[in-house]
C-alpha cells in the first residue's frame, strides 16, 4: 500500500529531492530504535538462561528454547488468566458499545429534559482519569459485594468506557441526514426502530473502530483489575504478568516468553485491523 509513485520527489517535480532522502534515512534510523525492544524481547524469550547471560543482547538465539513458553504458561498460570481476560472482554466490549450507542442516539436525536446536562457530564467524563480514584471505586464495588467477581470488574469498565464512546458516536450520529430518520418517524416508527434499523447499520464502520479500540483497552487494563480482582483465580493477563515478574524476574527467558504471550493477542488484532485504529481515534478528536 506504500507504493508511492515516484518516491523522493516533491509533488510534480522530476528531480529527486535530497532533503527527502535524508529525511527518509532519519525515519529509518528512528524505526530501528523503535523496533529494537521487540527484537530484544523476542530473542530473549527464545534463549535459555545460560545463553542470556553468556551472549550479546542482539545475538540471535542459537538453539531455540521453546520450552520457555510452556514453562512460563504453566508457572504463570496463563490458563486461568487468559480465560478470565477473555470472559471479561467478550462480555464488556459489545455490551458497552451497545449502551453507548443507545445513549448517543438519544442525545443526538431526541429532545428531552436534562439532555444538555447529560451531554456535558459525558464530555467531562472523557477527561477524568479513573486512576485518580481507585479507592472509592473499590469501596463502591465492595458495597455491592462484587469484589473478585466478573460483574464487579465489568460494571466499572462499562462506566468508564461510556463517555468516550458516546462522545464519538454522538458526533457521528449528528451528521446522519435528518430526512433519513424523520421519514420513518412520521410513518409511525418508534425511536427504538429508527435506532436499530437505520442508525446501527449506517454507523457500522465507526462501531467496528470503537469495538477494536475497546477490545485492546479492556484486554490491557491493569489498575482497576489490580484493585478489584484480588483473588489469583480471577486475575486477568496483565495481573498475571505483573505477578510473574515479581516472582520469577531472574528467569529471563521465561519472563520474556510471558511478555510475548501477553502482548501477542492485542498485537495480532492490531495488525489485522490496523486502519480501524486510526479512524476510531481520530473520528472524534480531530474534526475539520
Amino acid at each position: 500500500m506504500s507504493g508511492v509513485a515516484n518516491p523522493f520527489r516533491q509533488a510534480g517535480a522530476e528531480r529527486i529531492d535530497p532533503l527527502l532522502v535524508a529525511l527518509w534515512i532519519t525515519l529509518i534510523i528512528v524505526a530501528v530504535i523503535w523496533i529494537a525492544p521487540f527484537v530484544f524481547i523476542i530473542f530473549t524469550s527464545l534463549k535459555s538462561n545460560a545463553t542470556v547471560m553468556g551472549t550479546g543482547a542482539f545475538s540471535p538465539p542459537t538453539s531455540i528454547a521453546w520450552e520457555n513458553f510452556a514453562n512460563a504458561w504453566r508457572r504463570g498460570d496463563f490458563g486461568t488468566t487468559v480465560v478470565n481476560s477473555t470472559i471479561i472482554t467478550v462480555i464488556k466490549v459489545p455490551l458497552g458499545l451497545m449502551i453507548s450507542a443507545m445513549a448517543a442516539y438519544s442525545l443526538s436525536r431526541i429532545q428531552f429534559w436534562g439532555h444538555k446536562v447529560a451531554f456535558l457530564a459525558i464530555v467531562f467524563g472523557t477527561m477524568i482519569p479513573f486512576q485518580v480514584m481507585l479507592a472509592p471505586i473499590f469501596k463502591q464495588v465492595n458495597s455491592f459485594g462484587l469484589i473478585n467477581t466478573y460483574v464487579g470488574i465489568i460494571l466499572p469498565y462499562l462506566a468508564f468506557g461510556v463517555p468516550y464512546q458516546v462522545f464519538i458516536l454522538h458526533g457521528f450520529f449528528k451528521e446522519v441526514p435528518k430526512e433519513l430518520s424523520e421519514a420513518a418517524l412520521i410513518d409511525g416508527a418508534s425511536h427504538f426502530t429508527v435506532f436499530r434499523r437505520i442508525f446501527l447499520p449506517v454507523s457500522l464502520p465507526v462501531l467496528a473502530a470503537l469495538l477494536i479500540l475497546d477490545f485492546v483497552a479492556t484486554w490491557n487494563e491493569f489498575a482497576m483489575a489490580l484493585v478489584i480482582l484480588q483473588d489469583p483465580d480471577r486475575w486477568t493477563l496483565p495481573l498475571g504478568l505483573m505477578s510473574f515478574q515479581s516472582q520469577f524476574a531472574r528467569d529471563y527467558g521465561q519472563l520474556n516468553a510471558a511478555i510475548v504471550m501477553t502482548v501477542l493477542p492485542a498485537a495480532i488484532v492490531y495488525l489485522i485491523f490496523q486502519r480501524y485504529f486510526v479512524s476510531g481515534l481520530t473520528s472524534g478528536a480531530v474534526k475539520e
Binding site: 532533503l19 428531552f112 461510556v162 435506532f195 490491557n220 519472563l255 486510526v278
Partner: protein, 315 residues
C-alpha cells in the same frame, strides 16, 4: 411491537396497564430516556458517585474494611500537605512527568507525522511500527523496559559495554537520580505513536492548494511550514497537548510495573501514592485527600478545554 391483550396476560398485566405503558412509550421523550438510561445508570453508580464519594471520604478516618468511619474534618489534608514526607516528592514528580509528557512525545509525534506525510517509500509499515507500542498493555511495556534496564544483562548496559562506554553504565531503575527519567524514556516509546496518529490526521486537513500557492509565490520549505502548515494544525496541536496532559496523569501502570514508586519513593506519583495510602496502607481518608488534590488539578485543566470543545461541537 404490537402486543395483543392475550400476550399481555402472560406477563400478568391487565390490558389497561399495558395500554398505559404503551401510551407512555409513544412519547419520544420517554423513548429517549429509556435509551439513555442504562448508560447513565452505570456511569452514575460506578464513575460519578465514586468521584463525589472521594470528597466525602477525604474528611473521614476509615480503614476501608470495618463499618467504623469517623469524621475528622481537615486532619487528612493537614497530614498529607503538612506532615507526609512523600506527598511533595510525589507532587514534584507528577509535575516533572506532566511537563515532560507535554513536551517530548508530542514533538516526536509531530516530527514523525511531518516525515511520514512526505512522498517517501514505506510510509504505511513505518506508521504501523511507530504506533505499535500504543496498543501493547502498559504493564507489559513496563515489564519489557524493566528487563531492558536490567543492570547486568539488560539491553542498555550490554550495548554500552559493547560500545566501550563503560563509564556511562547505570543502575537505570535503581539510582534515585535517574530512575524517573529512565521510566519516562519507556513512556515516550509507548505514547509517541499516539501523538503521531493525531498529527497525521490533522495534516490531512491542511489544504494542498494553499501549500502549492505559497510555493509558487516563492515560499521556502520552512516558510510554508511556519505560515501555512502550522496555523492549519492549531486545533490538532491543542488536542494533542491536552490529551498528552491528561494521559500523563493516567500513567499509573508503567510506573507501578517498572519501579513501584521506588527506589526510596524517587519515582512516586500522586495517583499511585493515593492508591498506596488507601489500598496498601489501609488509610482511605488520607488516600482520598490525595485523590481530591489530583482531581482538582485535573479539573483546573479540563474545564477550559471542555468549553473549547463544546464551542467546536456547536460550530
Amino acid at each position: 411491537m404490537v402486543a395483543s391483550p392475550s400476550t399481555a396476560d402472560r406477563y400478568d398485566r391487565t390490558p389497561a396497564q399495558t395500554r398505559r405503558v404503551k401510551a407512555r412509550l409513544q412519547d419520544p421523550a420517554v423513548q429517549g430516556l429509556v435509551l439513555i438510561a442504562p448508560a447513565v445508570l452505570v456511569y452514575a453508580l460506578f464513575a460519578f458517585y465514586p468521584m463525589l464519594d472521594v470528597i466525602q471520604l477525604s474528611f473521614m478516618k476509615w480503614n476501608g474494611l470495618t463499618a467504623a468511619k469517623q469524621w475528622v474534618g481537615l486532619d487528612n489534608y493537614r497530614y498529607v500537605l503538612g506532615d507526609d514526607p512523600v506527598f511533595w516528592v510525589a507532587f514534584r514528580n507528577t509535575l516533572i512527568w506532566t511537563a515532560l509528557s507535554v513536551i517530548f512525545p508530542p514533538l516526536i509525534g509531530l516530527g514523525l507525522a511531518l516525515g511520514l506525510n512526505q512522498n517517501i517509500p514505506g510510509r504505511s509499515p513505518l506508521r504501523a511500527l511507530f504506533y505499535m507500542p500504543v496498543i501493547i498493555a502498559p504493564i507489559a511495556v513496563a515489564t519489557m523496559w524493566r528487563w531492558m534496564f536490567d543492570p547486568f544483562f539488560g539491553l542498555f548496559n550490554s550495548l554500552l559495554t559493547t560500545a566501550g562506554w563503560t563509564n556511562l553504565i547505570q543502575d537505570w531503575l535503581g539510582d534515585r537520580s535517574v530512575a524517573l527519567y529512565s521510566v519516562f524514556i519507556g513512556y515516550v516509546w509507548e505514547v509517541a505513536g499516539f501523538s503521531m496518529v493525531l498529527f497525521l490526521a490533522g495534516l490531512q486537513g491542511v489544504s494542498q492548494t494553499l501549500i502549492e500557492a505559497a510555493r509558487i509565490d516563492g515560499a521556502g520549505r520552512f516558510q510554508v511550514f511556519r505560515y501555512v502548515t502550522l496555523p492549519a494544525l492549531r486545533p490538532t496541536i491543542t488536542i494533542v497537548l491536552i490529551l498528552s496532559l491528561i494521559n500523563s496523569l493516567k500513567a499509573f501502570d508503567i510506573v507501578y510495573g517498572m519501579t513501584g514508586g521506588g527506589p526510596a519513593q524517587s519515582t512516586q506519583m500522586l495517583a499511585m501514592w493515593a492508591y498506596t495510602q488507601a489500598m496498601q496502607l489501609g488509610d482511605f481518608g488520607r488516600g482520598s485527600a490525595i485523590s481530591v488534590v489530583l482531581l482538582l488539578m485535573t479539573v483546573v485543566i479540563v474545564v477550559p478545554y471542555l468549553r473549547w470543545t463544546l464551542r467546536r461541537q456547536e460550530a
